[in-house]
Amino acid sequence: MKLSLRDVQKTFGSNHVCKGISLDVQEGELVCLIGASGSGKSTFLRCINLLEPIDDGAVYLDGQDIAVPGLDPEPVRRRIGMVFQSYNLFPHMTAVENAMLAPRRVRGVSRDAIRPEVSALFERFGLGDRMEHYPDQLSGGQQQRVAIIRALAMRPEVMLFDEITSALDPQLVGEVLDVLLALKADGMTMVLATHEMGFAREAADKVCFLADGRIVEEGPPDVLFTAPKQPETQAFLERALK
């Protein structure tokens, strides 16, 4: 098992956001988390790469518990890439500098050494002519693709995507989802919180429906979308697919 979460608990003050979530993700699998806003999807993703320290439970990456209190989170985060809803590019750097910063500082690779690899990523995802642009000179879809490239430049083993198409105009969603399909073809292990039911249905290996800080139901998309067992799932899908 590439990634395995056991009974993850997270509270913010009196707000119990993750009420014991367990999830297994196999190498090369694409897992989609669906559910209403506020169901705990984003927080759960942030717990996986330790952006939020978890209160209780365990996170296993390649069988090793990475959520041990006191463990340095930095080496773990290098192995898990994350992309955010609002892109979060560094506005004072060009696209290519955004992508090269972490390899340079964390992996200690020089600009010259990392540039070919990063350029190849830009070319591959159709941004070869946008490398020297600043984020505010790029469209939302382009910014989000740069954010994905920035995460990929660290050669992560797992990628987390937090509603990465939610802030995009509808006509730009496709270009970002295409990147995910390409990564899936590469065999990348991915966990995706999304409202794109069509994409989840077509591309996911497993879909998890979250509500109120718990996984209510999980299964392969053709089962979960066509024959959900739980009434809560049925109600949610009825509304979401309308």
Binding site: F84, H92, L101
Partner: protein
Amino acid sequence: MTIADEGSGKPARTRRQIYEDGLRKRSLMIAGTSTVAVVLAIVLLVPLAPGWAAVKKSFFNWDVFSATFPKLLDAFLIDVMIFAWCAPAIAVLGLLIALARDVRNPALYPLRIFSAAFTDVFRGVPVVLTVYLIGFGIPGLGLPRPWNSPYIWGSLALILTYSAYVAEIFRSGIESIHPSQRAAAESLGLSRRDTMWYVILPQAVRRVVPANMNMLIALQKDVALLSFIGPVEIFRQAGVFKSLYANFTPYVGAAVIFLAITIPATRYADYLMAKQRRDRS
């Protein structure tokens, strides 16, 4: 109905543009008329005041002005010099203090306390008092030359006071950067220090450039406070001339020189601030 001027080849102006041009012309007229009226009133009325002849003679005496102005300019070079070494020192110390207030390492806790106390103390004491206390107090320890120079200790007083303000400006800049930037940097595995240095600080420093420009302008003026502890800079030089000529015009000359620097600088700071607002909207 259109207002297109057929045949002239000019792009047609819309009804809205014609209306707004009319408004603009009208407000320009009103502004011009009222400004002229106010200026005329001042020019005509002030000389009617009973003491005007005396004031004119002792504050706006052309002969005294032209005799003292070149020397005042020379003295102003001392202000510029003091400013030139204080400003970079303030930038560095202010930044260090701002960063020190965020250190997490428990061993460095005293540093954190110290920087908080530092900003409280030096923002709380009038600059002129700090200049007196440090400028007279430290040389009073009996330091040998050149270490008893008022230039050194007066400058230090300015540096300490202004660093306290600048540190607060930097800190507000750092806090104004959205937490999502930190999250993005940390998710890439960047250390706290690299996150601060490569991601947060460059954005924060840019954001507070206009505020710091205002501090520079204030500093430029406060350099004159060093005159109280010795250096014959422009303010003190003007005082010397005042006694010599029994006339206040040298002070006006000094004010003119300060304004020649601070007005363009203020305009530039305002321009930066306006540009920043435009860029962010």
